[in-house]
Amino acid sequence: MSRSGKGRVSGLAVDVALFVVLGALVASVVGLAQRWEAPIRQAVEIDLSPSALPLYTLLSLSRGFAAYLLSLAFTLVYGTIAAHGKRAEKVMLPLLDIGQGIPVLGFLPGLVLGMVALFPRTNVGLELACIIMIFTGQVWNMTFSYIGSLRSIPEELHEVARIHRFSFWKRFRIVEVSSSVIGLVWNSMMSMAGGWFFLTVNEAFTLGDRDFRLPGIGSYMAVAIEKGDSRAMAWAIFAMIVMIVACDQLLWRPLVAWSQRFRNADVEGEAAPESWVLNLVRRSAFLRRLRLRRRRRHGAAAPSPVSPPALAETGADTRSARVRTGILVAFGLAALAGALLGAWKLVGLLARVPSGEWVVLVSALGATFLRTLAALALATAWTLPIGILVGRSAVWSRRLQPVVQIVASFPAPMLFPIVTGVLLALRVPFGAIAAVLMFLGAQWYVLFNVLAGASAIPHDLDEAADVYAMKGTARWRKLFVPAVFPFLVTGLVTAAGGAWNASIVAETLTWRGRTLETFGLGSLITKATRDANFPLLTAGVLTMSLALVLLNRLVWRRLYRLAETKYSLNR
């Protein structure tokens, strides 16, 4: 009796808290909308006092969420089309692969100019450009995850949907989205983290003589770095950490815990993810009542409209199939026309790059390639032993995983000035520092995968190593390293892509008023942006994309195959 009374009180408190949060959300959305309507100012004065930070953080957060909603919508539409059309899939999957590899930062100038031209009087264009840039940092792994989930739906579930005549929406809801929820939530969390990576650039950058700036935590940091204000930098880092932890605890943890109900197999033993926020919300008296009401209404459902007879249905089927083909063909034609036009423009632009520049571009590519290798080597050097050690221990990996996740979500470019300052004091040349900066962001991909690999090593192999007295280095050489190799390759592929992209912000740095620069493809692209040299910018982005695709095909694919055939534990 007393327990239920207490439950009611705390339930009420939770309700109040929920309403307060809701109210705050509504208020901030309204406030943000007003800001969007503000007349365009190319260079907003960024207030470096800490009291300005909460608002800036909220503004950046809202951009991140707007971009996330865009990513989600894109994922659901793109993934559904790709999964439903066998022919569409053949084009759409490689397209996604290329999109993932392309250095998106290279498109920022064009995007901003275009958007500002579209909305000349308000800030909307600039905001949209920023959101789209964040979107390009988020969307890929979500879409890959969704398509992957759709493809792994057991054929029988599709058959059930057909036998029991699911409508398109019913199938979308009950079969497709439900099968993908776990992967989607997980990747959403990763995506939000990835989206912050280029925030300092996305919110504040210069193009020729024009200075574009949006109020936000990224631009705050950018200005602080420019002015060498280390106190402001520390505040920005603090605000960023608060934002990431808050998102993690208030949004992602609850979502991950909630998504467990969509788990397919009954994999027990592994502790189910829990969230204190979700537990609280589940205790909410108001929500419980709402749920009950819904269930009751569901029970006494009114008769649904008469479904058309089977024959008419099949007629509609072929008709809709025809319509679908028509739409696909139209889309294809439009895409083809766009591609042709783009190719024509591209050739025109590239023709304006002097031949001497191409030589520079290729040698810059080489320099950045070496830096990528160095960054990957650094990442492997510490993540492989540490990842295996931690991954072998169930207790430690459970304890450390959430911490590592939050640390990894922190956008590395925000740490660049501090790391650079320290290394410069140690008289490390900036060319090497750039490689370290690239490593900062890339290391986490490797770590996550090695951790996963190490915890997947079968126990009996470990026991066999014990029985045959396999000790020290032998155990590492013969068991641990080969066993995590496939995971290591996956991590390295992702990390390499990240490192290439990071080179654009890592090879040039404004530090206390002076510009540090080292020769490489990334700094070349940044310089071309600053000088508004569009032919060179295009050539640079194109060179990097081509290099990435080639590396993927020639190196990573082969390593994957080796990993799958020789080092897979599943065969």
Binding site: N264, G299, A300, A302, A310, E313
Partner: protein
């Protein structure tokens, strides 16, 4: 009740007429799964389709209700060509195929096809059918909280709630443990015989002879490679059926004979080729997908039992299903290690020699027998064209597919490699998928 006269004038609920099914595998090789199958499900009967795994039984089910189209031939429902999914069909799947994120009652509700029903009627029907399969009180549970047997009860409830005229069951008990399967089978038998659920006809896919005899009114035996209807038997065992009743045992025996006849025909075995150096190769015929280790195991069992054993006794000794036991016996017969007069398996002279031989001597003995098989000669001829250059496994698979279009070439290749390596005929490197003639110098320590 098995003796219901089905009026010939009423057209069958579902029928396949001259149906072929051809699949292309990953490498683009065509494989014939079903060949000219005529089959029908009539009103008020339980048809059991019996066949070994891989004979296309499940494919036949899916074609019959419109889930997949046939490559040739026609599919009918009530005498009219079938368009889309069969309107009166429901399916119980081998692996349940429940939605893990829907509660038990929501999973069952799926079976109502969003049909317009008076308010409360849907709820009542779901409740009633859950009670019928013994799941009252589990409405709010989720599938992952249920045992395998209970999951399949949900699967059955989902199929029954829409009152289908054709209930299809695709190996419904084979994912369950033996005891649970037996319990559920008995309950399903009761459902069939009582016919309280608006059920008209049942199509049961199974590889177990006893299951077919227990549940079926009519038993259709399929043969494999390619799947064809070999025999149709009207099950005369009276209800209620008991596993130990003489009539039941007699029917099981009869079907055993039919199945054995289909898979182990009593043809006069080819005379053993003893002339040294001369290879007497038969026609290129497929190998049963059986490993050499299994064949040797069979020989050991036979030797222990005095050289002769009844096929069913062997089957009872192993945990194989009957089809697999037959496949092993057939493989041993192809290698001339056993004879199979009627339902007996008898060790031959070379079989005895094989059992007595040491591990080091066995490859040579096996090689002699293997070389008499056409399919090995085919591959060796191809390899001998240029003995120094290994053949790509894909080229060999293509070669096999060309000669034996009804067989799964990859599976046959796997068997070929297994036998050929055991007989020290081939070297095979799986990483490079390269097949070469055996190159190891005669370093058998003992021989």
């Amino acid at each position: 009740m098995s003796a219901r006269e089905s009026p010939a004038l009423v057209s069958p609920i579902a029928a396949a007429r001259g149906v072929d099914k051809v699949y292309a595998d990953e490498a683009g090789r065509n494989r014939v799964i079903l060949k000219h199958v005529d089959f029908e499900v009539r009103e008020n009967e339980v048809v059991a389709v019996l066949g070994p795994s891989g004979c296309g039984k499940s494919t036949l089910l899916r074609i019959l209700i419109g889930l997949i189209p046939p490559s040739a031939g026609t599919v009918e429902q009530h005498g009219k060509p079938l368009e889309g999914i069969h309107p009166g069909a429901a399916v119980v799947f081998q692996n349940f195929a429940l939605f893990p994120w829907l509660s038990v009652s929501d999973n069952v509700r799926v079976g109502l096809n969003d049909r317009p029903l008076p308010a409360g009627d849907a709820e009542a029907r779901v409740k009633a059918v859950l009670a019928a399969v013994g799941l009252s009180g589990h409405e709010r549970d989720y599938p992952k909280e249920l045992s395998g047997g209970m999951k399949q009860r949900v699967g059955i409830a989902r199929a029954l709630v829409g009152r289908p005229e054709l209930l299809c069951m695709d190996e419904p008990f084979s994912a369950l443990d033996v005891l649970t399967a037996e319990l559920l089978r008995t309950e399903v038998y009761r459902l069939f015989t009582e016919r309280t659920s608006g059920l008209s006809s049942v199509l049961l896919i199974t590889h177990l002879i006893e299951e077919a005899v227990f549940l079926g009114d009519r038993i259709v035996v399929l043969g494999a490679n390619p799947g064809t209807v070999r025999r149709e038997i009207v099950n005369t065992v009276p209800h209620p059926r008991e596993y130990r009743s003489p009539a039941f045992l007699q029917m099981v025996e009869l079907i055993h004979d039919v199945v054995t006849g289909v898979h182990l025909p009593d043809s006069p075995s080819a005379p053993a080729a003893t002339v040294p150096g001369r290879r007497l190769a038969g026609p290129v015929s497929p190998l049963p997908a059986v490993r050499i280790g299994e064949i040797l195991g069979l020989l050991e069992i036979l030797a222990d039992q005095g050289g002769t054993m009844n096929l069913f006794d062997i089957d009872a000794l192993t945990d194989y299903d009957f089809g697999r036991t037959i496949a092993v016996a057939k493989a041993a017969e192809m290698l001339d290690f056993v004879d199979t007069p009627k339902n007996d398996v008898v060790l031959t002279e070379s079989g005895r020699r094989m059992v007595k031989a040491s591990t080091a001597e066995r490859p040579a003995l096996l090689r002699t027998e293997v070389l008499k098989l056409g399919v090995f000669c085919l591959v060796i001829r191809e390899l001998a064209k240029d003995p120094d250059v290994p053949l790509a496994g894909d080229a060999v698979r293509d070669l096999l597919a060309e000669h034996l279009p009804t067989v799964d070439a990859s599976e046959l290749f796997g068997t070929l490699i297994n036998w050929g390596r055991a007989g020290q005929l081939f070297d095979f490197e799986s990483a490079s998928d390269a097949l070469a003639l055996y190159s190891g110098r005669e370093e058998e320590a003992g021989g």
